[in-house]
Symmetry: C2
Subunit: 283 residues, 2 copies
Amino acid sequence: MNLKTYLKQRQALVNGTLGKLLPSRRDFPASIHDAMRYSVLGEGKRIRPILALAASDAVRGKRARVLPAACALELIHAYSLVHDDLPAMDDDDFRRGKPSCHKKFGEALGVLTGDALLTFSFGLLAGVGSRVNGDAGVRLEAIREVAEAIGTFGMIGGQVADVGEGRRRPTRKQMERINNWKTGALIAASVRVGALLGSASASRKPAPGALRGLARYGEKVGLVFQLVDDLQDGDGAVRLEGAQAVRRRAQQLTRSAIRELAPLGKAGEPLAGLAEFILNRKV
Amino acid sequence: MNLKTYLKQRQALVNGTLGKLLPSRRDFPASIHDAMRYSVLGEGKRIRPILALAASDAVRGKRARVLPAACALELIHAYSLVHDDLPAMDDDDFRRGKPSCHKKFGEALGVLTGDALLTFSFGLLAGVGSRVNGDAGVRLEAIREVAEAIGTFGMIGGQVADVGEGRRRPTRKQMERINNWKTGALIAASVRVGALLGSASASRKPAPGALRGLARYGEKVGLVFQLVDDLQDGDGAVRLEGAQAVRRRAQQLTRSAIRELAPLGKAGEPLAGLAEFILNRKV
């Protein structure tokens, strides 16, 4: 199957599952459920859940056991966009070609919808609405991974450094850290969560070095993701190093990420394709 | 020990633990860690963590196993206050006699600090920074309880109904549900989380009916908490039923909550004292 077909199939799977997991807009109070669905469903490449599913597949995990957690990662991404768009933050009136959440539903609901998506995500990760089986320890580990990746030493930290303490011109090392926090940490966590839940549900143990390789792959691909963002915005790393150097670094990191998949053999191929996709994507 | 001394000792324990658990204001990015500590430390009755600790004690749980989760409940309460105070929500410039978080740190940090406190709480519940032992299943159950209590069929739902869909004059039944969601659900969850983690770490099984009694106690006390809020604001239930009827109902519910503690015997006494405290407290 070529990558385009693979992505389309996975996007359809994720979109269908998100639609079923999210509360209906008929549930009281309707406005927040409407706003949650509006902010999540429709457009979106679904890269984070697709990475989680691919990492689980790579270690032969059971799809049903990772799918709700994979969707939680997309909901967390959606929460971060809803709050980023608020007037107090980036003040964006549009998101993916339609009015942003607070423009459509008002600013109070903008705040509450982000809060609700984040809260709902942790519930999903903990197994709300799905039968949780014998892998409680692994699920807790996944929740810790995610909480750290999106906290003040992760995604939120990247935001803060971006809006506030990044005003002073940062060093390349600081920029790398901020960049990695801003989007890289959640991308990396997506791969790790998929690998963790997948290997817990697989009928045989992953190959030696597979989990460590996946973790390293996730970190590298996460950084590439942010570098490509920077290249498109002419911002961040590009201002320090120039576009050419950043592009070269992103290419090197992608090759290096793909090499980390060696212990997985053929089962790692979709992840290699996803790494190329992340390098070459248009935002 | 009388209740006043008991509360003071517990508040000191919770405050000391919160101070240790929260990131230092020297950690990069400093501003958000400063804002988190500012919004949590200092004033506060700490009713939610104290209820969790008391519920754990009532089933002879190990304090170290419930303390971080108890503190997480206070951080969730703090997150809800920080977001409530935002200009888009209640627009409050002051909180507990000092400038509210967004007044002190700016609106962007107001949004991000709430997000960070919520995220950090789920990390704590999942065992970030503490050794998680054999009670993973129970911890997951506690996370699900909390996520449901503070989601759109809980605390956030109460907020939404309050700011938006509550504009039409609600029936008494709707009002009860909204009220219960707004603060009651987190209070009830605090008791259940304490009871869950406590009984998992206790050396002997709780008495028959103890856990169910604690759950009912939590629900009733949660409702009393909100009714007392309404009495002080002359709002909510008071507008529908009148102050006298609401006060009588709060007293009846408190007596009924205390009766639920019967299976616990003497070990339930602090919870009985807390129920009286919640009934008689001045906001």
